[in-house]
Subunit: 210 residues, 2 copies
Amino acid sequence: MEGPRTNGTDPMRTDDPVTDHDRRRRQILDVAADVFAERGFQGGTTKEIAKRVGLSQPSFYHYVGSKDDLVRAIANQVDADMKSVLEKADAASPDPVIKLQTLIVEFTRAVLVNRRTFTVYWHEYNSFPQDVAAEVRRDEAAFVHSVTDLVRGCQEAGRLPADVTPGVTARAILGMASWTYRWYNPEGPADPDGIAAAFCRLIGLADPER
Amino acid sequence: MEGPRTNGTDPMRTDDPVTDHDRRRRQILDVAADVFAERGFQGGTTKEIAKRVGLSQPSFYHYVGSKDDLVRAIANQVDADMKSVLEKADAASPDPVIKLQTLIVEFTRAVLVNRRTFTVYWHEYNSFPQDVAAEVRRDEAAFVHSVTDLVRGCQEAGRLPADVTPGVTARAILGMASWTYRWYNPEGPADPDGIAAAFCRLIGLADPER
DNA sequence: CCTACCGATCGGTAGG
DNA sequence: CCTACCGATCGGTAGG
């Protein structure tokens, strides 16, 4: 009697479909990132996720579809974060040095703001469903490739040591920034931007805000 | 009829107890690191581990005791690796610069030689049994603390930027080196020592072999 | 959004 | 070192 599902709920109001259902789903995704970060993908049960958001385990399936859906959504968010970081770095300036400084700041910020999401992304890399795994690997390779290009630009400008392979330098920079997910303490003295600035100084690039 | 187990097999030869049983156990530990690195601790089953070493799943328990035993052994190995790295760095020279260079080389080497063991160590950090978890956290804190001290020494010698907190610098260095577990390719052009030397140059420390 | 429930699989044991 | 097996728990469905 109905068409192929117009928009979900009420045909009367199709302009603002962000309803309770969407909020609940978003909440479930956040909690799932917590649970998977703590117990791993296989160890984190739908029962525990449901319990933390105040649902029975079967009700969980009214919002999510399957457990794979969760890790898929998490992977997609990190994917989007990496793309966003690249865009911001590229738009910051024509100067590759400023681009790389901006990238370090924005990437560190992204990792630390969505710490548990990145944790799941990195730890459950092998648990991704086939389709999303392929996409994720491709996008991450593109990300590293872009950073490598920025490093090359900085080397040609004489601002990074030329006797280090650009690829290794790029991995080193991303390693410094990524590794913050393990030691960063939100209650500690250092904040994400301060940490990123420290990374820049350590490799001989001036602060971004000068 | 027997005492509380003299040495396992034959009372006649107690001098060389490294027998088939020990070799099998070692093999199981290696395979377990592979399986856990691929599928996580909860996702890696005793059945799969047993199958890869050519045993039935119940026979697995003749060598191991429990699944927790496996992750306990893995954690202890990383623990020992970190201690060994510290000792080598400390013995290398009285000069903190050479100590830090040595530490970077030895740590990178350890991570890449036992890549899957470190992978499990870092990814299953929250899956450790209570007792080993406490020990691991203590030893890792001590490791970071020692590296921070070396950084401080290098700063006082004017070889590392003094306007970066020693703790953040230490984490950055350990981050660069640790992150190699994600991107290192044994078939690729770069080898562990070359990568470590690149890290040293990137942060303004000369090569260790000069 | 819940109660009731299913098939599958897991870690581990019995008993030889 | 294996066959047979157990209790527990998991992801997901039925049916309302």
